[in-house]
């Protein structure tokens, strides 16, 4: 399968465009931001809908509570701040006022993972997927590129319930078609193969696309699944592919503990035990550096996906 690069943009800009479009099409959507309007690309929504935009200041706990309250009366609040401040800082607020209370809040988190870059480990959260997927009632979405982030931003307005939408800062290739339909919980099979299944999310989907080409040169036929929804997980897609290839690689910009890989392994260990290799950060904080330097240093780059695929294949009995 050939991948056409449709452009290069950051996923956060996909969120900004999606939110702006919602502002024009859905009068119930309101947005809140904790002093990061520019970073979250929420400017367009704010400019076009000033009465529906709420500046919360540097007070994220209050912002989550405000958003929960705004659902009462029928609004659909989108909160925006960095992933670190969207989750770890406000876990209890999300737990009680959003997840347990089943409020229709969309927690939109930018600058997730290592690719936030130079700001360093204080801001590079690698535990957020784990925290959010542990919460009952929570849907967890990690779109792969600009187009998919825009599509997911729009799609979650139609889903009645709490959502965690995770995206990032670096400019990355766009490969999802602009008219693709985003379906929560329905994985995209990007490439069909027979030797190994690569299941990736977020920026690691592009890294995995790059890995496909290298693997192909080695004569390896890899199947690639864009698992944009971590919860609810597309179990059928995992089982159908792993049943065919017999081994799996999971790839994510997240801690190995608690992330996509762990979610997939829960499925495989019960339903279809087979070798699985993890491309993820191994129990470590990040540090300052360029996004691409960090992905290489912390083992979540293209070559790491290739190596993991080779290892998984070698482990097949």
């Amino acid at each position: 399968m050939e991948f056409e690069i449709l452009g290069n943009k950051d996923t956060r800009s996909g969120f900004g465009e999606g939110l702006a479009e919602l502002g024009r099409t859905n009068p119930d959507v309101v947005a809140l931001c904790a002093d990061l309007t520019g970073s979250l690309k929420m400017d367009a929504f704010q400019k076009e809908n000033p009465e529906r935009f709420f500046q919360a200041g540097i007070a994220e706990a209050n912002m989550i509570g405000l958003a929960a309250g705004m659902t009462i009366g029928g609004k659909i609040p989108y909160t925006g701040t960095f992933a670190n401040f969207s989750t770890g800082r406000v876990y209890d607020q999300i737990r009680q006022s959003v997840a347990y209370s089943q409020k229709n809040v969309k927690i939109c988190a930018s600058h997730a993972g290592l690719t936030l870059g130079e700001d360093g480990a204080t801001h590079q959260i690698l535990e957020d997927i784990g925290m959010m997927r542990m919460l009952p009632n929570m849907t967890v979405i990690v779109p792969a590129d600009f187009n998919q982030t825009k599509q997911a931003t729009i799609a979650i307005a139609e889903h009645n319930g709490p959502v965690y939408l995770r995206f990032g800062r670096p400019v990355m290739p766009i490969f999802v078609k602009p008219d693709a339909k985003f379906v929560i919980g329905k994985a995209d099979v990007l490439a069909e193969g027979t030797d190994v299944t690569i299941i990736a999310c977020g920026h690691l989907v592009w890294k995995s696309i790059e890995a496909l080409a290298i693997l192909k040169e080695k004569g390896i036929s890899a199947e690639l699944i864009n698992m944009h929804t971590i919860k609810p997980l597309d179990v059928q897609a995992i089982l159908a592919s792993a049943g065919k290839t017999g081994c799996v690689v999971t790839a994510e910009e997240h801690m190995m503990n608690g992330g996509l890989g762990e979610a997939v392994s829960q499925v495989l260990s019960r339903e279809l035990p087979c070798p699985q290799e993890y491309v993820a950060v191994n129990d470590s904080f990040g540090e300052s550096g360029t996004p691409m330097e960090l992905m290489t240093k912390y083992g979540i780059d293209t070559q790491d996906v290739v190596n993991a695929a080779m290892k998984a294949i070698a482990r097949k009995a």
Binding site: V30, E51, R52, F54, A56, G57, A59, A61, N62, M63, I64, G65, L66, A67, A68, G69, M70, I72, G73, G74, K75, P77, D92, Q93, R95, Q96, S97, Y100, S101, Q102, K103
Partner: protein, 280 residues
Amino acid sequence: MENSALEKVASQVRRDIVRMVSAVNSGHPGGSLGCADFLSFLYFEQMNFNAETFDMDGIGEDLFFLSNGHISPVWYSVLARAGYFPVAELGTFRKLSSRLQGHPSTDKKLPGIRMASGSLGQGLSVAAGAAQVKKLTGDQGIVYTLHGDGELQEGQIWEAAMYAAANNVDNLIATIDYNGRQIDGDVEDVMSLGNLAQKWLAFGWEVLEMDGHQFEDIRTKMTAAKALCGKGKPVVIIMKTEMGQGVDYMMGSHKWHGVAPNAEQLTAALAQLEESLGDY
């Protein structure tokens, strides 16, 4: 409503509270008893609501959020007595599969409750958000909250206080149960709130002080609070109460914050509280 009628409601609510917590040997009678007069007034005189047709959005209604969720017994009793659900259901409090969870929740769909609470400090933010949506949609309803005084030690309260004033959330009336007690002792000893009225004033709120056990004063101050709505500032009422009010051996101490009376103590408590509306 006549003060004598309100007193009858509050007396029955207090009976409900001690019977509920005693039956399951758990729960929080102290603060519940202290807020029985206030919540009775709120639901039987102050607020505009439709108990029989409860829905989550509460459009056109006044809303109430209990931020200090541990005093759920008083809220459950008042909600039942106000017609939100059958009073017999009070007998399920804290029991398996009950809609009356230890702390208020929405997941079991108990009418009257719009937000879970229990982890302290979150209710003011929620209320400010709900109030802003009312303003956005031209809904004339007022949003009320109740907080413990110890709860004000939570930082999120002050985030919300700053936000509500900065954004002119002037359809919001917060009440503080200023009983001076918390689990570990007197609030003054655990962590003093300092000059509480001055703090709220400095945050830009209208501040009223009220005796939480005198219906005439409650009426005067709640009417004044409502009159202050729509004038640009949120309103806070510092309500002086006695933890355990109405049951002599529970008053004057923090010790009955979260301890249920045994059978003998229950009998002694009930002897002090008129069964005015019929026990559940």
